[in-house]
């Protein structure tokens, strides 16, 4: 096959992803699958992690919090990057739908960041004897990330016009995502100076296979769950943004009938 | 020169104007009229490249206005509702800054004279009246080496003599091959070759 049809096919896919009715239907079709898959994976992963996996020889059973803490932390960072990339695409190519994705990711990302903080704090109590350990780089980083999410949402809310809110907050997201790695490494550097404890030491007790598999299942389950909620939120967001168009009016009339 | 093709402008959730097309050629003046809230200011801001249209194109010499390189952008001068003067600087200071920043004409004395602002040249702008400030803003416009003037209600606050100066300047400008798009509530006081009613 020559390169041209592939490129044109990619181009068409890109265009379709910019078309609200297409994405609305796509999200509607994906959502039930993602929802079912994520619930199954979360149930299996939780059962495996809570019941089947052996307790950690150092931390005992409290290590089982890892199965929700690590996926939450991973989604909080992934969520921020996804939000910034979507916002940047929306800003550069003036793609309204990409702004819509960024808007939908923000509250989800913020919630998972909060979850990472809460579960990290609860995990800290039996491990360090305190709920909040200032010296832990990961928790400190999550806290700053939560502030970044909140800043993004507050900035959006302070504009009346959606269009302007989209474009201004996109710039903030881009500034934030450039700073995220800098913040990450500077906080790590800071904790090594102050020699704070960390939950997972590098080269420390290596995680065994029967502990790792439920973690991977939970990671997949959390990601699909995130995707599911993103689809549902995106559908609502598209309806709001496209309320003037004919296809949305027809849809509303159909739903009413 | 200035080409507008099927322009559609929105402000917030409401459509201000749609399907506007026209072309402005050297020596022509477009008079933009319409009731309050009809989108005169929004249209001028789009023409200046300060705001983006919802759909359609505005091109200056074939390039979209918001994509113009800084050097070509200075061929367009815009004067909005607000005068764009610094209150803390003197009348002359404001003109000098405009001249230096825009690399403009060295005619500060003549402009102050024509605007009858010579006695106030060393007065801070905050102590000038609204009409005097408007005149000074027009003086800043005159200094810029621009070919297209985009003026939003330039006659506001001006007395008869001020309006007279503006009429002469506009004639000079278009006579020398310049272009102008002017929004106004008093279309009788200005002459144009193109009337755009919103």
């Amino acid at each position: 096959m020559s390169a041209v049809p592939i490129r044109s096919r990619l181009w068409r896919a890109f265009h379709q992803l910019g078309s609200p009715p297409y994405v609305y239907r796509l999200a509607g079709r994906l959502a039930p699958w993602l929802g079912t898959m994520s619930c199954v994976l979360l149930a299996v992963g939780a059962f495996w992690g809570l019941v089947l996996a052996p307790p950690d020889y150092l931390q005992g059973d409290s290590f089982r919090i890892i199965y929700i803490h690590v996926p939450s932390a991973y989604l909080s960072m992934g969520g921020y990057v996804l939000m910034a990339v979507a916002a940047a695409i929306g800003y550069i190519w003036r793609m309204k739908l990409a702004h819509g994705v960024a808007v939908c990711v923000a509250p989800l990302g913020a919630w998972f960041t909060a979850l990472a903080l809460i579960t990290g704090g609860i995990w800290g109590k039996p491990t360090w004897g305190t709920y909040w350990e200032w010296g832990d780089a990961r928790l400190m980083f999550e806290l700053l990330l939560l502030f970044l999410f909140i800043g993004y949402m507050v900035l959006r809310m302070s504009f009346d016009e959606r269009d302007k809110a989209d474009r201004v907050s996109a710039l903030l997201a881009v500034v934030g995502v450039v700073n995220v790695p800098i913040i990450h490494y500077s906080v790590e550097w800071w904790t090594t100076l102050h020699q704070g404890p960390t939950l997972i030491r590098e080269g420390g007790p290596s995680i065994t296979m029967d502990m790792l598999i439920p973690l991977l299942i939970m990671l997949a389950g959390f990601s699909l769950f995130f995707g599911w909620l993103l689809c549902k939120r995106l559908q609502g967001e598209i309806l709001r943004r496209e309320s003037r168009t004919r296809w949305v009016r027809n849809l509303a009339a159909e739903a009413a009938a | 020169m200035l080409t507008v093709t099927s322009l559609e402008v929105w402000r917030g959730e409401s459509c201000l104007l749609r399907d506007l097309s026209f072309e402005l050629l050297p020596g022509q003046t477009a008079l933009i009229t319409g009731p309050n809230g009809s989108g005169k200011t929004s249209l001028l801001r789009v023409l200046a490249g300060l705001a983006l249209p919802f759909a359609g194109r505005t091109q200056w010499c074939g390039t979209k206005v918001h994509r113009l390189a800084p050097e070509t952008r200075s061929e367009i001068a815009y004067l909005g509702h607000r005068d764009g003067l610094k209150n803390e600087l003197t009348a002359e200071g404001n003109l000098q800054f405009t001249r230096d920043f825009w690399n403009g004409r060295d005619e500060i004395d003549r402009i102050l004279d024509e605007l009858r602002l010579k006695p106030f040249r060393r007065r801070e702008v905050r102590r000038l009246s609204a009409g005097q400030r408007r005149r000074l803003a027009l003086g800043c416009l005159r200094l810029k080496p621009a070919r297209l003037w985009l003026l939003d209600e330039p006659l506001t606050n001006l007395d008869d003599k001020g309006v007279g100066v503006m009429q002469t300047w506009l004639q000079h400008h278009t006579g020398a091959g310049g272009l102008a798009a002017v929004s106004t509530h008093q279309p009788g006081r200005l002459t144009g070759s193109l009337a755009i009613e919103l």
């Binding site: 900035l155 302070s158 903030l172 700073n179 913040i183 | 490249g49 003067l85 803390e88």
Partner: protein, 222 residues
């Protein structure tokens, strides 16, 4: 290019001196925060010696945010920002000139005041060059970050408080490296490490910041 930069620089400096009370406010704010701190904690010498660096840096951080809050607002309100946007120079250059002007009237006095306050917190005299060097490298980054915040919120009435929310989380690295450099200076140890990191941040923010700030001003006033 250079003459346009100088032209904006001169204009903003002149305006700043005409409104010198606005100029002085962030500096007085800096001094007041730093001097209220012992009231909140304790006047105990050992305690002040150990927390002095942190107090100085937090006050410097807050006062530089405050100083740049109105960087674009005055120009946006009287319509001159529109003229600057439409001017014959890249907006990034104009923004850079404005930041440099504001830094030289708000950041430089901070460099002069900080050592005096540092002495009152029992920091040794030998630590002062290190402190000033760290502040000199850190304040440009803080100014650029504050300028981005000021640009994003230029069209909002309640800009000032939101800027803090948007920008303070991003100042974490500057704070970490700055206080570390000051602590090392107080201990008389080599402090090149954190200074290099601060310099790297300054280079990054001064090169990328004005472009982002210009885009933000343009978008916010669209």
């Amino acid at each position: 290019m250079a003459d346009i930069f100088i032209c904006i620089l001169k204009r903003d400096l002149r305006l700043a001196f005409r409104r010198w009370s606005e100029l002085a406010t962030p500096l007085i704010f800096f001094v007041i925060i730093a001097s209220l701190f012992p009231l909140a904690a304790s006047p105990d010498e050992a305690q002040l010696r150990s927390t002095g660096a942190a107090v100085l840096w937090m006050s410097a951080l807050l006062s530089s945010l405050l100083a740049l809050d109105g960087l674009f607002r005055a120009d946006a309100e009287d319509g001159s920002m529109e003229q600057l946007i439409l001017g014959p120079a890249p907006l990034g250059l104009v923004v850079l000139a404005k930041i440099v002007a504001h830094w030289s009237v708000s950041g430089v006095p901070l460099l002069v005041l900080a050592p005096v306050l540092a002495l009152s917190f029992y920091l040794p005299l030998t630590a002062l060059p290190g402190l000033v060097a760290a502040l000199a490298l850190a304040t440009p980054t803080l100014s650029v970050l504050a300028a981005i915040g000021a640009a994003l919120t230029v069209s909002l009435r309640a800009g000032g408080t939101i800027i803090g929310l948007l920008i303070l989380p991003l100042t974490g690295p500057v704070l970490i490296f700055g206080t570390r450099a000051t602590e090392l200076a107080a201990l008389g140890e080599p402090l090149a490490g954190p200074l290099y990191l601060l310099a790297a941040l300054a280079v990054l923010s001064v090169s990328l910041g004005p472009v982002i700030t210009a885009a933000a001003v343009r978008t916010a006033l669209e």
